[in-house]
């Protein structure tokens, strides 16, 4: 389940959809208007995001509205870990770079 969430947000279009819906709940048509890809492709992304519960569906009359489920993201254990890992990788490289720069300036 946890892996599903990460896979869902690894795709740039799905991240863009999440950012869009985080700002405002939307219908699938309104979402699709923001993207160049086909409605079919967008609706497939929405399906994946809904399946891993990052989006909540709400029936409003004849239309379906999608909400962003922030709590789902927060459920992910160690939510900081990947972000921290990314910065650690950068800083480890910087450590090596600084060692080289120190040798050069000596």
């Amino acid at each position: 389940m946890r892996r599903d969430v990460f896979q869902a947000i690894a795709d740039p279009t799905r991240r863009a959809i999440l950012i869009l819906i985080a700002a405002q709940a939307m219908t699938p048509n309104a979402i699709a208007e923001h993207f160049d890809c086909t409605r079919q492709a967008v609706s497939n992304h929405i399906k994946i995001l809904t399946e891993c519960k990052l989006l909540d569906q709400e029936q409003a009359g004849r239309e379906m509205i999608y909400h962003f489920n922030l709590n789902k993201l927060k459920e992910v254990a160690d939510w900081l870990a990947p972000f921290q890992r990314m910065w650690e990788e950068r800083f480890d490289k910087l450590d090596n770079l600084l060692e080289n720069l120190k040798k050069e300036t000596k």
Partner: protein
């Protein structure tokens, strides 16, 4: 023993902090963050390449860089305005993911370089977002990192660390 990276992202806040010490004088650390050839050597996470389109590193300056995978495929592009470059202690800039369908998800990014014990440096990156959900999104998605790969790699890295 490696210097630890500390991330502070309190729930419900629009800000986050990234804090790390380096065993090098702050002039050198500052240089690494203000020289494009050096930035390109370290700023990408593993198996990624950072390539700057432009980097006008001075007051009222600007920057734009792409993070690519090993095959050169662009994964994401970040750009921003550089507000202040106060050598060797502070850089203040904005940062925005390029190509989003909605504009305005911009981050204020203040980097402070403190000299400690003469030959060490403490770097504090203070990011302030437009909204709490933006902040959470940045932390959660690891936008620049390519989360899945990082995660796949985690076990290997941990195993290596245990060996060392």
């Amino acid at each position: 023993m490696k210097n630890q990276t500390k991330i502070i992202a309190d729930p419900g806040k629009q800000e986050l902090f990234i804090i790390r010490e380096f065993d090098a004088p702050r002039e050198l650390v500052f240089k690494a963050f203000t020289t494009v050839e050096l930035l390109e050597q370290f700023f990408a996470p593993n198996n990624r390449v950072t390539k700057y389109e432009y980097f006008n590193c001075h007051d009222n300056g600007s920057y734009k860089y792409a993070t690519c995978d090993e095959n050169g495929k662009i994964l994401c592009v970040f750009k921003g305005a550089i507000h202040e470059v106060a050598a060797p202690e502070r850089i203040i800039q904005t940062s925005e993911l390029d190509g989003l369908p909605v504009k305005g998800h911009v981050v204020l990014d203040a980097m402070t370089f403190e000299s400690i014990d003469g030959n060490k440096t403490r770097l504090t990156i203070h990011d302030v977002c437009i909204s709490v959900s933006d902040r959470d999104m940045i932390v959660n998605s690891g936008m620049e990192g390519g989360l899945v790969q990082i995660f796949d790699k985690l076990e290997t890295l941990l195993a290596e660390q245990i060996k060392n």
